[in-house]
Amino acid sequence: MTSQPVRFYQVGSFAVGNRLLDDDARTVQSDSNRTNSIDSGHRACQGCGEALGARYALDAAMRASQGQLVAVNATGCLEVFSTPYPETSWRIPWLHSLFGNAPAVATGVAAAMRVKGRTDVRVVAQAGDGGTVDIGFGCLSGMFERNDDVLFICYDNEGYMNTGVQRSAATPPAARTATTDVVGPEPGNVFGQGKNLPRIAMAHDIPYVATATVADLHDLEQKVERAMEIRGARYLHVLVPCPLGWGSASNDTIHVARLAKETGLFPVFEAENGVVTAVSKIRHLAPVEDYLSIQRRYAHLFGKHPRTDIVARIQAIADQNIARYGLLGDESEDETKWVEA
């Protein structure tokens, strides 16, 4: 008997408490025998989405691999807050090399395991959005192209938070960062072409690509488990709000992540071999204002001189996502797997 009584929170979100589920459908986190791959006592900020995402993802990966897991970490918040000398939060074998090479280092670990006949040992590489979409992009694409047996997890907090909130290629339009100041006619980050890594990953035709947020941790765990059933290059893109960089309240992390999904700004879906196989439908469609207005990085769009024009452009991005991924409609079509289980 590994389960324990779990408190049930009704948050108006359709989230279901573990208590209502059968033992085998409960989350890894609700299991008192979970690994605690990244243990408490680390130095992440209050309300850090990345620490939460990493904890769920790695514990799920540990369960899926029966504890035979190696993690490779890019430089970034997760690496820094988890290992200031002489402390480490990692209860799993963990290697940090550089900012831009985590996918290649993971390839090397996987190759070593293969050559030694230890294919039971699975490899996870993890990085923030900078280590994924910017400086790690070349190595990541190479790892995808070779279809190396690595699950790469990007914890996307939409900027270089560890160095003090600078812009990355994953920073959304209009957002304020330390290098996209809110001055001039187009304050904040530019409306560029964007760099949608999940879609770029899909273009490599790798076996599995998925997105998730820390608002739906059942879904995150389930996607890690699905990814671990597959061999080859797999990519999981997790949206992890950063209270510091986004200017959101520490106790709003889950709320902000949920609104990212419910507005359509962050589509949550799964794809196999380059084809979308499932999308998480929007349950309560929300206008982008609901999401933007609770983050100080967008404060310049509201207040005395509201920039409704810019908000409208952001709404157009959400609408485009909704159309592209079919985010509206009957949710029972796509998202009932764990409820039924």
Partner: protein, 421 residues
Amino acid sequence: MLRQIEGSRAVAETVALCRPEVVCAYPISPQTHIIEAIGAMVKAGTLAPCEFINVESEFAAMSVSIGASAAGARSYTATASQGLLFMIEAVYNAAGLGLPIVMTLANRAIGAPINIWNDHSDAMAVRDSGWIQLFAETNQEAADLHVQAFRLAEELSVPVMVCMDGFILTHAVEGVDMLDQSVVDAFLPRYEPRQVLDPDDPVSIGAMVGPEAFEEVRYLAHLRQLDALERIPSIAAEFAEVTGRQSGGLVRSYRTEDAETVVVALGSVLGTIKDAVDLRRDAGERVGVVGITSFRPFPGEAVRDALAGARRVVVIEKAFSVGFGGVLSADVALAMDGADCTLRSVIAGLGGRAITRRSLEELLGDAARDQLEPLTFLDLDHGAVDRERARMTSTRRSGPSAENLLRDLGTERSIQMKDRS
């Protein structure tokens, strides 16, 4: 078994005898023949078990090696020139993590201007990285050094770079006595990592280290290099016992007994220097040569001993620190601190320019007559340099210097041709 074999092929086959488990490859001239040959062996199954991984850049090549080595696999890669610079962040990282990766560096110039030919600029660019750097004089030594390199790297948990001159060695076909598998197996024990990514005994590798311990970590790396100063000669001696060949070691002297003028150099140019020394000896001059095999760690004491008694030391090197002078010269000067001798620095063979016996003979003559400047650029075309300087003085938009020089040289040649016809 003695074979007529290309240097790259000899290295590839010797590396295969060392049973590497993960080999990464990203092609760059003049390293290509090495990784091509290893790739073919893995594909054919003659080198097994081994994972041969074609990566998308040198940065990835070293990074994959880092991951593989940290997971306990014997790891090898090869590169040159721009490739080494492209992976330099990972080169430092491998040394900092203490991972015993072995890498062949097919020495080549660094651009701009782009140039695929041999010099030692690439090796010098990473001399402070924490890697052991061994320079091969011949293809025989290049092959042998790889066996010693794996042994040394794994004993000390330090990565080792075997430097062999691009094209001059890599693409030269000559007789190499190839080792037997049984000899290599007896010489090179199974890799027992000091640290390894093991789910049954989890450790964190590569953690953040602040000022409270960083200096100590660095000093430990220095101590390991000092240990290497002891191990390099003893491993070479053991190798000599098994094979009957003198390969590796710290320094090697040639005709330095009673020598007043001693030349110091790295790599394949030592052969030509020895020929020039022989000729000067025949003419009655007391000259000799000291070849440095281990550039890092730098064997200061061994160099000082080898140069004891010399009145003039001439360091010939295929690289230099722009705005300063010879890199090796500075190390030799420090080793000779307080010794009663003059030190002259000669920069030669940049970008593949041939270092001829005739030029060396003249150089040795000048040295013997104490006519060498402290810093000399061998066979430098002063006329071409002066003409470009003049163009730069007379015209603001004088254009790209490299292209100007080539045009100038072409014009000069055609004038010479016309004069001849």
